[in-house]
């Protein structure tokens, strides 16, 4: 063996992955070809009966891109009803599974993409390259990660509570997925139009804590337990500012339904400033508060000390490996996506276009663009801000964020009674800014930022 050999040694990696890693474009072409073959087959099978209805459904969807998913679903259901004479309950089931399948596919892809984009962006922030080995620009990295996760050994500690250890990742994932069911993706496109959507969202967020507790306690590991306790304390504390920030929006739009809240933000002032809540003083403050609390709710940096590697290995996920760890990972990311989706619906105008002459772009695209911008913002924050200390974290929640939440509610009320306008602007801006400055001063006096003194390591 010559040590100057330049080829990386890949002979023992599984053949398929090896093939994919070495010939990314070839693999992509193969995948596309396979999809085409399967798609043609399915179309051929479907086309056996009443082909006219099928083409009509497709044409219908193409004619109105803004409502394409809805029209496609309706067209397909119509086709199945008339072409294949489905019974009503079969139609109902098909409709449900179509929605679920679409949601899972879309968010699965976004999740995979995010896990890659996060690593890429963080790497670039730290002036590194990031994953760029598997496929072009590392695009197949999520695939490789998934394969790696799935073929890893599933380890259950000897002293673990087996049932709780198994159930915890499921209980974490289910609420995260359920949140996706009520997000307003576009006009009339929320999978479930729930009148108490906001409450549903917070109730699901609350059930996540039980999952965290089960993971922490069921692992029979001190790091898991301490991490879980920290995580629960943090989630309970930050749920309050999250709720308060959402409450201001609920007060002004007069509804708990995400659809109604998005509808309340339609229209443009001076025909170019959209009527989003983020463009009001209280709304802006509420958005910042909501987003900060959302970062803490989904245990992301700088509030990720439940899983602070330096002291707790991985928090409540310490004893998890393989598929269960992947489920935790997925729950975390889907939770982030859901909470960002809520931030978009509450403050960023949901599916509304930011400018009137951009309305030809379909609403669901706007929704996902905004959603992804928030995810990128979260990644950006993660690359910037160092992890907080435990007492700072709690102090920040109880001494700064919760009083600010009350101030925002007050500002929203003043805005409502002033009816917007200059008076509303000035009054609510003052009501938001004064506590912000005062509390910021108090917090920065109480937890002064000082240069760290290294007693031993620095000469």
């Amino acid at each position: 063996m010559l040590p100057t050999e330049t080829q990386p040694q890949t002979q023992r990696i599984r053949p398929a992955l090896n093939f994919a890693a070495r010939r990314p474009w070839c693999t992509l072409a193969l995948l596309i070809a396979a999809a085409l073959v399967v798609g043609t087959g399915v179309l051929f099978l479907l086309n056996l009966k009443a082909p006219g209805l099928l083409t009509a459904a497709l044409m219908d969807a193409l004619s109105d891109p803004g409502q394409a998913p809805v029209l496609l679903k309706q067209g397909l259901l119509n086709y199945l009803e008339n072409g294949w004479s489905f019974a009503p309950w079969m139609l109902e089931l098909t409709s449900i599974f179509m929605v679920i399948g679409t949601l899972l596919a879309v968010f699965g892809v976004i999740f995979a993409l995010t896990s890659l984009v996060e690593r890429k962006v963080l790497a670039r922030i730290q002036n590194r390259f990031g994953p760029n080995r598997v496929g072009p620009w590392g695009l197949f990295q999520p695939l490789a990660d998934a394969v790696k996760m799935l073929i890893k050994e599933d380890i259950v500690p000897t002293g673990a509570d087996k049932v709780l250890h198994l159930l915890a990742p499921i209980i974490m994932l289910v609420p995260a997925l359920l949140v996706l069911a009520i997000l307003p993706y576009g006009p009339g496109m929320a999978p479930i139009e729930l009148g108490v959507g906001i409450l549903f969202f917070f109730a699901l967020g609350a059930t996540t804590e039980v999952g965290v507790f089960m993971a922490g306690w069921g692992s029979n590991n001190k790091y898991s337990l301490i991490g879980a306790m920290r995580s629960i304390a943090q989630m309970i504390s930050y749920e309050i500012p999250l709720f308060l920030a959402a409450l201001s929006v609920v007060m002004l739009s007069g509804s708990l339904s995400p659809d109604a809240i998005v509808s309340a933000q339609s229209g443009y002032a001076f025909s170019f400033v959209p009527h989003w809540f983020v463009f009001t003083p209280w709304g802006f403050a509420g958005f910042v508060l909501f987003f900060t609390a959302a970062l803490a709710e989904s245990n992301r940096s700088p509030f990720d000390l439940p899983e602070g590697e330096s002291e707790l290995v991985a928090g409540h996920m310490t004893e998890y490996s393989g598929f269960k760890y992947a489920v935790f990972f997925m729950a975390e990311y889907i939770g982030l996506l859901g909470i960002c989706g809520f931030a978009v619906a509450l403050f960023l105008g949901g599916w509304h276009a930011p400018l009137p002459w951009l309305e030809w772009i379909p609403g669901y695209l706007w929704f996902f663009i905004k959603l992804y911008s928030l995810v990128l913002l979260a990644i950006w924050v993660r690359g910037t801000v160092p992890r907080m200390r435990g007492d700072h974290l709690m102090g920040f929640a109880w001494k700064f964020m919760i009083p600010m939440g009350f101030a925002i509610i007050l500002a929203a009320a003043v805005w409502h009674y002033a009816g917007g306008g200059v008076l509303g602007w000035v009054a609510s801006a003052v009501i938001v800014l004064m506590p912000y400055l005062a509390l910021g001063r108090v917090v920065s006096i109480q937890y002064p930022a000082s240069r760290r003194v290294y007693r031993f390591s620095e000469s």
Binding site: D161, L164, L194, G195, V196, L199, F200, F202, A203, L204, G205, A206, T207, E209, V210, F213, M214, W217, L225, M229, I232, I236, E239, G254, S255, L256
Partner: protein, 171 residues
């Protein structure tokens, strides 16, 4: 409220609730009791949803599963005796009076229910609980109760914090 799907949902949710309740009072590991209580609360919330009270159901989830169950679990962990595993004694003979009393109470309630045919009235499904109506009722007819609840919650919060705080004068 008699469609097949509703009956199936009722059977599933009520058996879940009952099972979780039995587990919550009967299991020997107290952490399992706490977790079963959380499941029980989820089941009760499901029953509320089944009965058409969405708002109450989600409030139940938020308050009970998110706060009360987690609080109970925190206290379980904080009061775990160091020397023994968190196991409680199983069923003993001296618990028989408790069982008998509970069974007696159930019997009385059961007989009372069975002897009231007026309960079997068939009523049309009422309109879903609208939040606007609830809010208006809260701040108009029940304002005093709302204020009293606010005061009570504040007092309870302060009291609980004071109790749980480790005092200056030792433990």
């Amino acid at each position: 409220m008699n469609s097949l799907s509703e009956i199936i949902a009722f059977l599933l949710i009520s058996s879940l609730t009952l099972g979780a309740a039995i587990a919550a009072v009967g299991l020997r590991n107290i952490v399992h009791c706490g977790l079963s209580l959380a499941v029980f609360f989820v089941g009760v919330a499901g029953l509320y949803l089944l009965l058409g009270a969405e708002f109450i159901g989600f409030i139940q989830l938020l308050v009970y599963v998110g706060a009360v169950a987690v609080l109970i679990m925190f206290v379980i962990l904080l009061t775990r005796p160091e020397d023994e595993a968190a196991k409680l004694p199983g069923l003993r003979w001296r618990q028989l009076p408790g069982v008998l009393i509970a069974a007696g109470v159930f019997l009385v309630i059961y007989l009372a229910i069975m002897r009231s045919p007026s309960l079997l009235r068939d009523v049309p499904e009422p309109a879903a609980l609208s939040i606007q109506a609830v809010g208006e009722a809260l701040v108009s007819g029940h304002l005093l109760a709302l204020m009293a609840i606010g005061v009570l919650l504040t007092a309870a919060l302060i009291g609980a914090a004071l109790f749980a705080m480790e005092g200056e004068d030792g433990k």
